[in-house]
Symmetry: C3
Subunit: 471 residues, 3 copies
Amino acid sequence: MTRPPTRALAPHPDRLFPADPSTRAIARRLYARVRDLPIVSPHGHTDPAWFAGNRPFANAATLLVTPDHYLLRMLYSLGVPLDAMGIGADAEPDPAAIWRRFAAHYPAFAGTPSQLWLDHVFHTLFGIEVRLDATTADFYYERINAALQTDAMRPRALFERMGIEVLATTESPLDDLRHHRSLRDAPWSGRVITTFRPDEVVDPDTPDFAARLDALGALTGEDTHGWRGYLAALRRRRADFKALGATATDHGHPSALTADLSASECERLFAGARAGTLAPAQAEVFRGQMLTEMAAMSCDDGLVMQLHPGAVRNHNPQLFARYGRDRGADIPQRTDYVHALKPLLDRYGNRTDFTLIVFTLDESTYARELAPMAGHYPALKLGPPWWFHDSPEGMLRYRRQTTETAGFFNTAGFNDDTRAFLSIAARHDVARRMDCRFLAEWVAEHRIDEDQAAELAPQLAYTLAKKAYRL
Amino acid sequence: MTRPPTRALAPHPDRLFPADPSTRAIARRLYARVRDLPIVSPHGHTDPAWFAGNRPFANAATLLVTPDHYLLRMLYSLGVPLDAMGIGADAEPDPAAIWRRFAAHYPAFAGTPSQLWLDHVFHTLFGIEVRLDATTADFYYERINAALQTDAMRPRALFERMGIEVLATTESPLDDLRHHRSLRDAPWSGRVITTFRPDEVVDPDTPDFAARLDALGALTGEDTHGWRGYLAALRRRRADFKALGATATDHGHPSALTADLSASECERLFAGARAGTLAPAQAEVFRGQMLTEMAAMSCDDGLVMQLHPGAVRNHNPQLFARYGRDRGADIPQRTDYVHALKPLLDRYGNRTDFTLIVFTLDESTYARELAPMAGHYPALKLGPPWWFHDSPEGMLRYRRQTTETAGFFNTAGFNDDTRAFLSIAARHDVARRMDCRFLAEWVAEHRIDEDQAAELAPQLAYTLAKKAYRL
Amino acid sequence: MTRPPTRALAPHPDRLFPADPSTRAIARRLYARVRDLPIVSPHGHTDPAWFAGNRPFANAATLLVTPDHYLLRMLYSLGVPLDAMGIGADAEPDPAAIWRRFAAHYPAFAGTPSQLWLDHVFHTLFGIEVRLDATTADFYYERINAALQTDAMRPRALFERMGIEVLATTESPLDDLRHHRSLRDAPWSGRVITTFRPDEVVDPDTPDFAARLDALGALTGEDTHGWRGYLAALRRRRADFKALGATATDHGHPSALTADLSASECERLFAGARAGTLAPAQAEVFRGQMLTEMAAMSCDDGLVMQLHPGAVRNHNPQLFARYGRDRGADIPQRTDYVHALKPLLDRYGNRTDFTLIVFTLDESTYARELAPMAGHYPALKLGPPWWFHDSPEGMLRYRRQTTETAGFFNTAGFNDDTRAFLSIAARHDVARRMDCRFLAEWVAEHRIDEDQAAELAPQLAYTLAKKAYRL
């Protein structure tokens, strides 16, 4: 095995804690209370096939680099073609070459959460003690690949080693859920559940929308040519998901628009959606109506509803044409909540038996819209900092801008929201450290007492997510 | 009296100061210069009847909980029905039960300004040394109620005890100002003045708008069926308010839109407003025109003009239908100033004898719009952090985002803006501590010298408000 | 010479560093690595005539006060008429009186970057050790004026004394570039280059637009009555600028809108622009199309493209009518990038041989739009904090809100963007201190290692600007 060079990789035990010694001491004490709590991961994008099949992961490059859009976006911005990272028709076929390219650019990730997460993974899961760069690329590659072949690094073993209590994946209503059925029947105690994500059958802008509705009809035995049958089919699939452990739905929309139309308007819009004749603004209203329909169904079946709005997907048409989606070209846009959510909230916002967890990519809404709304509507909870904001600074901004108005108990704990399975513990660790740091600062400034903070820390790390997602 | 349990309530003398010892020492020195300055409260919503009548307050629940929309909003978000808090047709009649419910949820206010303010009130005004929760609810209730019956806790005594130099209430032009007249004639030296808040007679969306204009006509002897008489009536009421000590007007609008229309357009819009035939956009323009009219009158009579824009009032129609306004269901919205204020500023922005104090619920405008505008227009001053932002973090964001462009002398000091009379000293104390903390940080970083900060601190705590409001 | 009074002016060696001792120590070590690096000033507004002629500056008032819109805006907001500061038809003719007025108001600049910059200039360039206020005004005035007559304070000597390696000015395509030609031929080694700023010949809202196009035609021998000749003329001027050292273009637009129209649409719009018949929305599209045309030309000639959008110029019509532009009455407005830049990026965003450096006055776009876009598109780089945000707090917000998503290597180093020549070293010093402070905080929190920070600091202070601007 290659000899390790000299730049040490040693994630500091006090990392992310404030520099002031008295505040840091408080942060350490709070963190000691939450460090080893089980991980509740109520929203993410890991592949259930991993846990159902429990086969070893292939290699460092295809496990850690190629599927990670955080890494692809930065590498691409620095001039690295995606082909060179193993994507597309002319993809580099050699994973070792991909890994080397990544390693050579790794120093440019300085200060990004990707660096924090990956260094944690390298050190904790693979025992590596030198930093990744061009000179250590091969050492890393061999060390990681060798480890991945051991039983300790198979999906189920990692699940247990990371202390995961429950992990939710995300599936479409058109998914046959075979892996989740297989997991249900497997002689393994790990709790991996699904989440109902109907975007492709509620968004008329999805390619082949009508064919997808046909497939939904075929799966459920409902007639999805009409509005009522369509709703009945969705209801049925929700029940199927719930039977396999789902406690939540998830909705990714360009905006937070909701609507509350009459049945005849719904039927007319649905007909247009099926026929592919809706203008963009009508498609937007249809999606908005479907959010309200989903809320209605949640009131019936108890599934917690999540809304992730505000990304302009596939902003780069050349990249999309050549490499497809999820390559790092999704860009947030300004997002309104106060008017957009009103139709849904007018109907269901006052219910205490319904939960809508809202996320944002537009931080200007934290203090202006989301905290005031979550601090009023019983049904509304704030999801944790999301995507670009799932980062130390993003977490500080979130707590500083929401807590004074919404408090802690209108927030929904932490989501890792990741497909990067190995990084789950690292991501929760960052969140736990940052929340303890935030609490420690307020304790040090005598804004809350340390015993209050000591009770809050496990809520933020564990309890709130479990409760908000009914897990 | 119930025995106090063990969790101590002891607001720390260094609360809200930075943790770093050298910075904290500077903050302490600055705070010592302002802690005991008289309180200038140029904008708020206390009831003048309290000071005119000087009767004891009834009990802890109806004094401290039921009227406080900050508390109601959070309790409601946590699933507590408003009836249970003594609001609405089926209101809980027992104040002790209301208090107990509040107490049980009080720990959920951790980290909110409400907790800071109330703990200060409990400790300073009632001498309580245990924290409020379910176990101490009855002890608190008895202790507070007993104290409220003493002469020391009557409105005028509290006014003096809190060191209030001047307190402004807010009245409508339709108010007969009897309490203010009574105060003027009372053998009490406390300075309680009124503020002219004409929203209900300038906003055509107010229910019974025409009847209100009739009432305005009856009060003033002007013919409010026409534009000129309407303006004359407003001018008269402004004079009446001024005669009772008012130095300011206040305007709460959905947006900051102003307009500068021709007389004939004004007359046409006014006719529509009176007839109730204005479309929403026309009503908005009418309100905008009225802001410019108010500015014109301020140029004549010297009343300082305040604008509080950007709240979507009564966002929750179910709640509004059942419980009415001011129950915590007002939500801020994105607010433009750069285009909206232009018509008014084009006319009066360059005057040095006119003052317009602008507030915001949209913090994204601090650095982008408001600080540059206040840092240019002689007439424009920035009001302090308002409502959801009247909080430690809100105050830091305000100073950090406005000072470098607008400086300190284009800001208008602190407003408590509260109807919670007992919390006034607590609110000013938070503002004084946060401003001293902010200054201390800049001194510690050698961005200003400590002698500069020592001169600035009393400006921020006292002088600027007095000067901006011509008190 | 007047006797100095007692308030000491002594810029602290640790100024702008964090108060925490361990973090400050790191900041000091990082700053020691960059303090004396040469200054790369790739974007600014100094007058090339200064360096071509190398004549002494006249006096303190006309050098330091009258041309500085940061100072004029604040003085005006505090009630000082611009005439009194030497501006306009009734301008105060006596520079000593202007200086005295400025000095009397100087304490109101506490906490502004103007104070930081000027104190640095007073202390470092003029050796002054007392603070500026009414009592020291005359002492300052005499001391500065005397110094300005020495050879050490002539433009070229100052250029060298400040350690400037390269300085870019900004000229219009209608400029004859005589000073830059004179500089090219001068026996002086200082590198002063021009920048191509075509606003007045691409913005149809410019007064006398057609006459300017005629002038452009006359200068280039191209027929600027047609779209093709117009583009050819611009291309020619770009070549002329490049021949005199230009490496960049610069574009100041009200919004970031870009367009990508057909040739026939371009021709039609151009005809309207020349005829002065474009509606405001059409003028906006024409400007947007011209940005895309400029990008196309940059792909050909290699000039780096800068975009400075989002200012409402001349917000105050009374002021503009009386005193003209650049008097401190430009106000930022909300600015969209995600949709506005798309047409240009769709065409050229994926190129690695084209660089577009984007600035913003709307900080809400840092984390939401600009960092995600710069962290994806190879062509896009983030310019440093601009104008109102070129300040210590502005710099912290910039790094905190962009680094986690865009990293450091998608940023373009520091620009002083100033016409205040004497303050250039002061401005770069503030940026270097703030970047070292930012890095020190992350080192102290173990988010990056100190050896990483030590490599990053000179990148931020020197290398990134040089590379981004191809200097």
